[in-house]
């Protein structure tokens, strides 16, 4: 068994003892640098501390996935700072997103759509998939997401809206392809 809980009265220390190594591995898999990964771990725990009350009441799998989302976003931010191209790449994706409109929504909402959603969420940019999960799985509101990801509530709204559009577009493209292919 890898994870264990020491009988420690400090919940923050318990979380650190249980997850530090795990979070470090996720950070390292993105950043490929010891020091940057350590910075990401430190920042992750600061954000965990700021949201400790909610996190403490979660089951361990839910906690683990949330920590991955947090450390991944932090690592991506650090990576972006190091490699500006990444943000340009994201901006390009964002710029290509147009309003899907009601027709596309009509295409998307069908019986087979849910099956497709499970596949297409893998293709969605992780930043978008993460924010969708924070809203629809963890039920965080904009200000809570803003705290966790350390972005402004305005950015949360924008990113969430783009994530929805992007997923709908991926689904509708698949539908169109099936239709004509």
């Amino acid at each position: 068994m890898v994870f264990f809980s020491k009988n420690n009265s400090n919940p923050f220390e318990t979380l650190y003892n249980d997850y530090a190594s795990y979070i470090y591995k996720v950070a390292y898999s993105i950043l490929k640098d010891d020091h940057l990964a350590q910075d990401a771990v430190q920042e992750t725990f600061i954000r965990i501390f700021n949201n400790l009350e909610k996190i403490n009441n979660m089951d361990r799998n839910k906690q683990r996935a949330l920590f991955v989302i947090i450390v991944r976003n932090i690592s991506i931010d650090i990576y972006r700072q190091k490699k500006k191209e990444y943000s340009i790449y994201l901006d390009q994706i964002n710029a290509n997103l147009s309003d899907p409109g009601s027709d596309i929504e009509d295409i998307v909402i069908s019986n087979e759509t849910f099956k497709m959603a499970a596949e297409k969420i893998r293709e969605l940019n992780p930043t978008y998939a993460d924010i969708l999960s924070l809203r629809y799985y963890y039920n965080y509101d904009n200000s809570e997401i803003s705290n966790i990801l350390c972005i402004t509530p305005q950015n949360v709204r924008t990113r969430l809206s783009r994530a929805k559009k992007c997923l709908i577009e991926l689904l509708s493209l698949e539908k169109e392809a099936n239709k004509y292919g």
């Binding site: 994870f3 923050f12 771990v41 501390f49 683990r64 849910f114 959603a117 999960s133």
Partner: protein
């Protein structure tokens, strides 16, 4: 018709939300399967120390925050409780006479003992606001050395260069009393300005007490006839 359109739009939104929720759950499943629990690795000890420091700092912050929150919760309640207590006490004191007298006595005692006992600014002259009586005769060589005043009693101390002293006290309250030490003393009744007085001699100290408008007391290590003369010359002070 508009209502139906609105309801349809809402339903569509709910379905979309359902779709997003489904996709989110799939995303979490993907995260968990892509990042499985593996064997723990040891982080560098330096980093570990840094993190422990951070944890202890954050924990202190959390404790302070909790304390503040608790205080915020408890303080208004405590204030209300104190107000109620104070209100009830005031009501009780107002309504129960025996208690009122006791409480007032407490304040009066404190007042007499600690607050109001004051020496006059220039304490070897009679102050302008002197209210009551003064000895208008004093044996030669005696001068005022100190004056003390409080709500119930005024005392003037006279001394001379031979080290002799005379202490004059007047007690203004209706129920106030003057007491002198008569144990093993030579006591005799005399008259001071038509008032009965008690004279006691003990160890060379002469004491005279009598009551006129106020209660008076003279104590001195001087000649008995001189002290009686001083007593007979105690008259109302006219400003």
């Amino acid at each position: 018709m508009d209502n139906q359109k609105f309801a349809k739009a809402q339903a569509k939104e709910k379905m979309l939300d359902g779709l997003f929720e489904y996709a989110s759950i799939c995303h979490i499943e993907n995260i968990l399967s892509e990042n499985p629990i593996e064997k723990k690795i040891d982080l560098p000890p330096e980093f570990d120390r840094k993190m422990k420091k951070l944890i202890s700092k954050q924990s202190k912050q959390l404790k302070r925050l909790k304390f503040k929150q608790k205080t915020k919760k408890v303080l208004p309640r405590a204030a209300v409780f104190l107000l109620i207590l104070l209100g009830s006490f005031t009501l009780l004191v107002n309504n129960v006479e025996a208690l009122r007298v006791k409480v007032l006595n407490i304040f009066l005692n404190i007042h007499d003992q600690y607050t109001s006992f004051q020496a006059t600014k220039n304490n070897n002259t009679i102050p302008q606001n002197w209210n009551g009586y003064l000895p208008f005769y004093m044996p030669s060589g005696f001068e005022i050395s100190k004056i003390e005043q409080n709500n119930l009693m005024d005392i003037i101390y006279y001394t001379n260069h031979q080290g002799q002293s005379i202490e004059f006290s007047q007690s203004k309250g209706d129920h106030s009393d003057m007491r002198i030490d008569t144990e093993d003393a030579l006591v005799q009744n005399i008259t001071i300005n038509n008032s009965e007085a008690l004279l006691a001699e003990k160890n060379g100290l002469i004491s005279i007490v009598w009551r006129d408008e106020f209660a008076f007391c003279l104590i001195g290590n001087v000649d008995k006839s001189e002290l009686i003369k001083v007593a007979k010359n105690v008259r109302k002070y006219q400003k």
